[in-house]
Amino acid sequence: MLATTTHVLRIHPEKCTGCLRCELACSYMQTGTFQPAKSVIRVSPFEGHTSYAPYTCTQCAEGWCMTACPVGAITINAAGAKDVLDDTCVGCKLCTIACPYGTMFYDPDTRKAFKCNLCGGAPACAEACPTAAITYEATATADWLGEFARERTARVLAGAR
């Protein structure tokens, strides 16, 4: 676990209304057009369409995608995000298999892998979210998901909602 201060995308699922504005903004940054199918943040429904939550790359400390890439096409950019170098990527999809979170994507049109690169330090999804369900925050650790999971598990086990 990294102990340095960094910026991460923090998800507040209880605030998400499922409007998918983040997907629109993301696809615009990723492709220059509005095409949510190419968004690297995805909103999923829960509990019979009554709850939604966005989900994207947590920029995990392990960096499984980087480890798996046989051609070194995944680097860490200035914002601290794992980023795919299009010119180097050969489209072998190993990273999509290696990623345990399902946040590496493959674009059949370009035959390249693609993922969240934190928009180079100004994530469009956080900017676009009307309810602040996605925020871009400074945090002491890159692995906020672990804490989130621990805290939620503790709450669920304690019987609270």
């Binding site: 903004a25 057009t33 429904p45 370009t110 690169n117 009307p130």
Partner: protein, 649 residues
Amino acid sequence: MTTAIVQAQSRTTTPSPARELPGGYAGKLLRVDLTKKKCWAEPWSADEMRELLGGVGLGAMILYRETATKGGRGNVSWDHPDNRLILATGPMAGLPAWGSSGLTVVTIGAGTNGPTSTQANGFFGTNLKYSGYDAIVIQGQSRDWVYLYINDDAVELRDAKFLVGKDTWATQDALGPQLGLSGHMLSVYSIGPAGENLVRFAAIQGDYGHVASKNGCGAVMGKKKLKAVAIVRGTKSLRAADPRGLVQAADDIGFDLRTDPSAKSLYEYGTLPGVVNLSRLGALPIKNYTTNVPPVDMSQWEAPKLREGFDHRGHQCSACGMHHCHMSVIRKGEHKGTIVDEPEYEGWSGAGWAIGAMSDIDGVAWLNTELDRACLDVNEFGWICGWVMECQEKGYLTEAQVGFRLTWGDIKGAARLIQMISHRQGFGNVLAEGVKRAAEKLGSPAKDCAIYTEKGAAPRGHDHRARWDEMLDTCTSGTGTLESGVPVHPAEIGQPTRINTFDGEAVAKFIAGIRGRRNFEDSLGMCIFTTRTRLENLCRVLNAATGWDVTVPDTVRFGRRTAAILRAASLRCGLTPDLERPSTRYGSTPVDGPAKGQAVGEQWEKMVDTWYREVGYDRKTGKPLPATLKALGLDWLAKDLWGKRASRR
């Protein structure tokens, strides 16, 4: 640092659209012939897009062109195979402006047997646009029940036997798993039992709680034996002429909605504050217009209270930041744990106040969703159910006639009535014909208690005896519901910001003066609540998307052109000016409350005369005058309506 945009462009391999295709458009209409079981894509030109925009603008033109009979003098009826069911979206759908997934249904409706324009939202517009279509135009009639499946270029009419009899929510529940899709990956608009059984006020419901409800559009879908339209979120891209400008204009509209006094409460609570606010004006319809004095403590109906009363979950439409649409989970009572759509104001009114259910808030919320599930228009149901309750109370209808005793505020009884109507069982078969036809069948004195327009439309969920602008609009409209109201920033188009609401002449001038704006809004593919900003902003967002130079006067002109086309189609359907009046009860004088003694009936004729003069239509025949049409650039329509006389008048 890698900039995302550069990467993005290197990945853009979607073939660039034809050079002339304006941004925001998919460029194709999806045509479906149910008789021949054929589906095909039809391109439409950039000129047509500029002229018709989308939504009701596009729908009205298709309806006018394609539903005529007798050499253009008559019109096919709602149940004819040649009737068109147009499910249109608009240029803003799929783009980041708030609430931009608008669906406009245009058809010859079963209520008035005349044109309809009725809106819903959810994710219909985005899913359709990303699939590559701006609208679906459905014609013909299927022999067996089918549903339309759209997944990019794969468009199929599929067997819907397994869906028949299912309510609208159950239909979506069944289609999702079958197609292996969840959430907004699949948008489903469908009809429930009421649509299948051709109830004349059946609606089309979609995406759990969004309803295109007016004028029996659900019956048209039922007649065509089309159970549902299921659209997978497509994979195609939408371009904007000026994407940064678009995002900026969309954000400015969002700011306006959050902060402007005319939109702020909508932003925070949707239409919930309507109950208390309208009760203060005497415009909350209580017990079928028999009183305007709420007999209960109104503090329980304050918006924050209503929202606190349920376990609330946001259920916003595409790209929307409003705190408007919600799912609620009922916390207590008989329906504890049931997931319902948070009722709109219209739901609290139609499934609550109009039928005398004024305290059982959980019950009303449940009943409202039962109506959505059956696919009945909540407004007309309110007038029907309230009318039956009043008639039973007064002895105009017997228990034997109805089949059971129905008293004010009886939620269970109302739910029973929903089933009777939507399956056309017993007396439900009479009521399924809509409030006007049912009232006429029974005759006076029951008829005199019923709320409807002589055209056969039912008003929205207000007491229009305290909102004359909406009564006049409902009666003269070419859509079977409001066509010009509600006013938003009227000063922007040269109208007064405030008028005496009980001065018939001022009301008529005002409603004629704001005419056009609404039809423009309903052509954009946005929601009527997220267009509650200045027209200037709507022009900005539209121009940034398309690359056009639409101005505020253009928007009004556009809307009035659409209204004139709808009016011409209405006349062709036989909806003549003599039908433009309220029923006895609808046009009566309130006996108590804030609008007590304000007699709309006394000023009615003068109001209609003034309205005709102001909009430039002929009072006798109802036709838009040749000069009016020519000023709108509709010379061809002047020729259609007036023949050779067009040039002489």
